[in-house]
Symmetry: C2
Subunit: 214 residues, 2 copies
C-alpha cells in the first residue's frame, strides 16, 4: 500500500455530494444487512433494508438501529411508533438483490414484500411481519428512542421479544454461525459481501502481573 492520503474536515465538507456520501458511508467499516418488517395501523405491510442494526445489550436483550432524519415520511418509523412492534430479518446471499429493491421510494399503497417478491410471515408472538425467506429473525418492541442533535438521525432501541433460527446454525456455546445461515454483510451503501471465518479468538486472560486490580 502507498503512503496514506490525509483528508481534512473542510475538504470533506467541500466534496461533491455523492462522493462524500460514498466515502463517509464506507469509512466506518462493515455493517449488518437486515430487513425491518412493520405493519401500519391500517394493516399495510412495509419492508425496508437497513445497514445500521447494532447490538445494545444481552441482559436484557436489546438491539438498536439508526434511522435517517424524519424530514420526509418514514414508514418504518411511523409503523413502529404506531404499533410498538417491528421485526429484524437477516439478508441472505441467495436473495440480497431482492432485499436491495426495498430501498426504492414506492407508492404508499404498494408493499415492499410484493415489490421484492419476499414473503410476509407471522408468528403468534409478534404482530409485525417476518420475512419467511430469512434464516435468522427477531421480533421486537420499541423500548426507547434518542435523537442525534447534530443531524436529526434517531437511535431506536428495541427489546427482543422473540427469536427464530434453524437449530443447526447455533454452536454449543450459544454463538450463531452467520455463514452457515447465509447472512451477508454490507459496506458503503450498496456493496454486499459474503464472509469467510478466520477464527474465533478466546477470551483474553491477563497474567496476574499485568492485570488490573479491583
Amino acid at each position: 500500500m502507498s503512503t496514506p492520503i490525509t483528508i481534512s474536515r473542510s475538504e470533506i465538507l467541500e466534496m461533491e455530494k455523492v462522493t462524500r456520501l460514498q466515502l463517509i458511508n464506507s469509512i466506518s467499516g462493515f455493517k449488518s444487512a437486515n430487513l425491518l418488517g412493520t405493519v401500519s395501523k391500517d394493516g399495510q405491510e412495509n419492508l425496508a433494508i437497513f445497514n445500521s442494526v447494532v447490538h445494545i445489550g444481552s441482559n436484557p436483550p436489546l438491539v438498536g438501529c439508526i434511522l435517517r432524519p424524519l424530514t420526509v415520511p418514514r414508514h418504518t418509523y411511523e409503523n413502529i411508533r404506531d404499533t410498538g412492534w417491528f421485526t429484524i430479518n437477516h439478508v441472505h446471499k441467495d436473495w440480497y438483490k431482492l432485499a436491495h429493491q426495498t430501498s426504492g421510494n414506492y407508492r404508499e399503497d404498494l408493499s415492499e414484500f410484493e415489490i421484492s417478491g419476499l414473503s410476509p410471515q407471522y408468528s403468534e408472538g409478534c404482530p409485525a411481519p417476518y420475512v419467511a425467506e430469512s434464516s435468522i429473525k427477531l421480533g421486537l418492541t420499541l423500548e426507547e428512542q434518542h435523537e442525534v442533535k447534530a443531524n436529526g438521525t434517531i437511535l431506536l432501541v428495541g427489546a427482543i421479544q422473540e427469536l427464530r433460527f434453524p437449530q443447526e446454525v447455533q454452536e454449543k456455546d450459544g454463538f450463531l454461525d452467520l455463514e452457515k445461515a447465509g447472512t451477508v454483510t454490507i459496506s458503503g451503501i450498496d456493496a454486499y459481501h459474503r464472509t469467510t471465518r478466520l477464527g474465533r479468538e478466546s477470551y483474553v486472560r491477563v497474567p496476574d502481573d499485568k492485570a488490573r486490580r479491583g
Copy 2:
C-alpha cells in the same frame, strides 16, 4: 435448513449467562472491527477493540459507537470525555489477533499499544493516537452522547475531523474498497471474518407508475 426454532423473551432471560451473551451478540448480524485510540490527560495511551462503530451521517460527517455501561472504569470513555478526541482504526486481517489482545483488562499503567505490539502514530491534525498499521483511520472529536436508559450503554457520536487511507482503496465514485484495505468484520464477540464482494447494487430507480409522489 430445518424448520426454525422459536425462542421467547422469557426463555432468553432464563438462559445461562454465557449462552445468552453469545447468542444475543450474534443475532444482530455482522459488525465493524475497529480499534479506538485515545490518550489520557496525563499522556497515557489507550487502545481498545470495538465492534459497535456505526455510520450516523455524511453531511456533516458523523460516526457513532456504542459503549458499555460505566459501572466500572472505562478508559476509552474517560479519555474521550477529558480530551475531546479519539481515533477509529480499521482492524486488518493480517493482525486481527493482536487487535483482539486489547480486549483484556490490563493494569492502568500499561498501554494496549505495548501489549498488542501495534504502533501509536500521531498527525498534526489529531492529538489522539492512530494505529500506524491500520489502512483506514479516522480522527474525531466528541460531538454528543446519549445514555440508553434500559441498560446504561452509551451512544457516543463523533465528528470526523480527519481521514487517512491509501489512495488505491478508493473507487472513482468515492466508495472505499474495504477488502483491498484488508479490513475484517466481526460476528458475535469473538469471531473474525474476511469478506468476498458479491456485487455493488445500483441506486433503485422506481418506475413512474410505482413511485411515491412529492
